[in-house]
Amino acid sequence: MADTKDHMGRPLVAVTGIGMVTSLGVGKKDNWAALTSGTSGIHPITRFPVDQLSTRISGMVDFLPSSDKGASALTYELAEKAAHEAIAESGFSLDDFGGPLFLASPPMELDWHDRFSLYNSGKGDGDPDRLLEVARGLTSLDLFETAQFGSIADRLAERFGATGLPITLSTACASGATAIQLGVEAIRRGEADRALAIGADGSATAEALIRFSLLSALSTSNDDPAKASKPFSKDRDGFVLAEGSAALVLESLESAVARGATVLGILLGCGEKADDFHRTRSKPDASPAIAAVRAALADAGLSEDRIEYINAHGTSTPENDKMEHLALSTVFGERIRSIPVSSNKSMIGHTLSAAGAIEAAVSLMTMREGVLPPTINYDNPDPAIQLDVVPNTSRTAQVGTVLSNSFGFGGQNTCLVMAREPV
């Protein structure tokens, strides 16, 4: 059992369960089939009218019972489905998981439909205070719970029997990776031998779409939705707003081996670095992203030359992809041209709070299955970005180690290093 500790003598952290939902479907099997056949989940928006909107496409999850029930209900359902799949695979009890919960989820706000309904059941000319009067008379806590930031995690903890106070977190687009990092850290500290890390985001409301549009962050390639998300292409014009979830059961390798669980991969290292440059833009020299990658490698105890594949943040915004290329070419030097780097977002869009978790899940499957998912829509390469993006079709390749990047608005950057086997 000597090899259940890492290079710093800490418990090695295994992954023993994975679950996933994206616009491509529910579950790993369907998602993996779609992701490796280069299928796009991006489609025209039908959840709400698109009058006046400059972006009319998304990667929303429109096929769940909660898909039209507001961000809180959908985010819960996404998280629940992914966690269910992950826990079932791990072999732990579905109602007595017995470890802490770390949930990456979007900030919660009262849904506009509920706001309209509250307002219009009150009286008083154009007076917003009547919202309070009506709220005072509510006889159920249902609306209240949708606007509490801790409620989704509270319900998930109850549903699966997670221990302790569940943590709900946001590091913007890095949230999913941060949830995994918190789980890894808890296991390394010996606080738990297993943890449930979930990233879930069902918050693609009209207001969310408009907010990102006003920041000029979204693609407006409405005419051919499947072609809209085109990371590393010369004509990339923004990200595609999307929904989804992924859950990982993290477990000390020692515990996994002892109970004979199937080890799906190893979470070797996590690294982070905050950016102080701007609220939406990354530092032009990419130094925070570079530092986050290096911190993850150092935490994993691997040198740059040990990384065999990179699951890029690759949002398809002009700025991110340029910055990410600069960061990667700085860390990996000339070798970056021969390391495959692909972006799952080309197919599923940007799932925001869930993205880091989904991409970690896909990274683990990439190693297990020996297939690299492609970057689709790579028809017009950006000559300034010299990367092997696994263009357009998947590739068979045995990969033992993966770096997964997540870079967020507000300067929160988190990188994960994963391995197929303990190293």
Partner: protein
């Protein structure tokens, strides 16, 4: 004494009472201090409003101030006070390696835009189209960033250059509990050497009150101390605006740089009582038991919200422990939501540091006369989640 003890070396406080540790210590140790209340603006609700703040003192650039709504400005300001207090502010080497955990809710929506949309909704059935029309033309593009939960931390990075790492926890009082608990755990395990932890809440906004009142949690009618609202009209919570940030360090890190140590942060506990199953009272009592209280008269700085069930559970647990002298500071500051627990721990640290307790904040609180070598901080969430910490003398 362990080099990885967690010590508190910086405190930044803002509330209706004023700003800074000296003002808070001086006022809170004044017997019979009256709260600062605004009973008119949000009637029938009372709030403890923000004091006058010269934002320039902690946020030098006007451009940065404009990019934030009050909540973010308040948090960034309180964080600056804590960094200043710890002697870390402006120290590039220390700030660029400092880890941060912020407990955050959301920021303020644009009330004028929302009001116009709601008013128009009275005469239109195509409300989704109305939303698109109004939001695409009337929302300020940067308002989104001023509301986003993780952008309080983002602004602290931009303004104060704290960039080691940045995480934001959400979930009312529990976010503040988890923030301190994981920060302490990271320092104890050697995962971090120095951290900035805290939160802020700006209550003076219809939407913030609505967040409580959809659950029927707000106190109405004449103001009462936090322990005396059972049976009064409404749900028991009087909110306030404020913020609390702490600088935590490993003892070794603090001593090496000659930092002033207020107190040691002992065990931090957290829990999720299954309240719908009727477990609140037992869970709160169990948490007090688990806190390892010393067998002596003990000051307890309580973040009790006034919410009926949670506050009653805490009152019962305190009543059953006659050596506890609780101080419900929300009587004087109002409920600061995510900032409640950091605020409680800060006040506990000040008492330990000054070797003196606080006078009773209302007539129901037991007297405490001794020198507090240990002080308990509690946060029983108004709706969910619970936490406690024992704050101990520095040496």
């Amino acid at each position: 004494m362990n080099p990885r003890d967690v010590v508190i070396t910086g405190i930044g406080l803002v509330s209706s009472l004023g700003e800074g540790t000296d003002v808070h210590w001086q006022k809170l140790t004044t017997p019979g201090l009256k709260p600062v209340l605004d009973t008119g603006r949000f009637a029938p609700y009372t709030v403890h409003p923000l004091p006058e703040i010269d934002w320039n003192l902690q946020i030098a650039k006007r451009g940065d101030q404009r990019q934030m709504e009050t909540w973010q400005r308040l948090g960034t300001y309180a964080a600056g006070l804590a960094l200043d207090d710890a002697g870390i502010k402006g120290d590039e080497a220390l700030c660029s390696t400092m880890d941060m955990v912020v407990a955050a809710g959301g920021g303020e929506r644009d009330l004028a835009v929302d009001t116009a949309i709601l008013a128009a909704s009275e005469t239109r059935n195509d409300r989704d189209v109305l939303l698109n029309e109004k939001l695409t033309t009337e929302l300020r593009p940067t308002l989104f960033l001023a509301q986003l939960s993780n952008l309080l931390a983002g602004n602290i990075s931009i303004v104060h250059k704290v960039t080691g790492s940045s995480r934001t926890f959400m979930g009312e009082e529990g976010a503040g509990v988890s923030a301190l608990e994981t920060a302490a755990a990271r320092i104890r395990s050697g995962q971090s050497t120095h951290m900035l932890v805290g939160g802020a809440f700006q209550s003076e906004h219809l939407d913030m009150l609505l967040g409580y009142e959809m659950g029927g949690y707000l106190h109405r009618g004449p103001w009462q101390p936090v322990w005396a609202r059972q049976g009064a009209e409404g749900g028991g919570i009087v909110t306030g605006s404020g913020g609390a940030f702490l600088v935590l360090e490993s003892r070794e890190h603090a001593e090496k740089r000659g930092g002033r140590i207020y107190a040691t942060l002992g065990p931090v506990l957290s829990a999720r009582a299954r309240r719908p199953k009727g477990e609140l009272d037992a869970a709160v009592s169990a948490l007090f038991d688990k806190a390892g209280l010393p067998d002596q008269d003990l000051l307890a700085v309580s973040a009790a919200s006034g919410a009926h069930a949670a506050t009653r559970a805490e009152q019962k647990a305190i009543a059953a422990r006659p050596r506890l002298a609780a101080r419900g500071f929300s009587t004087l500051t109002g409920h600061l939501k995510e900032a409640q627990f950091p605020f409680a721990v800060a006040l506990a640290a000040l008492a330990v540091h000054h070797k003196a307790g606080y006078p009773a904040f209302d007539a129901s609180e037991r007297p405490f006369a001794g020198v507090p070598e240990k002080v308990l901080a509690t946060a029983i969430g108004y709706h969910h989640f619970e936490g406690m910490a024992l704050v101990c003398a520095a040496d």
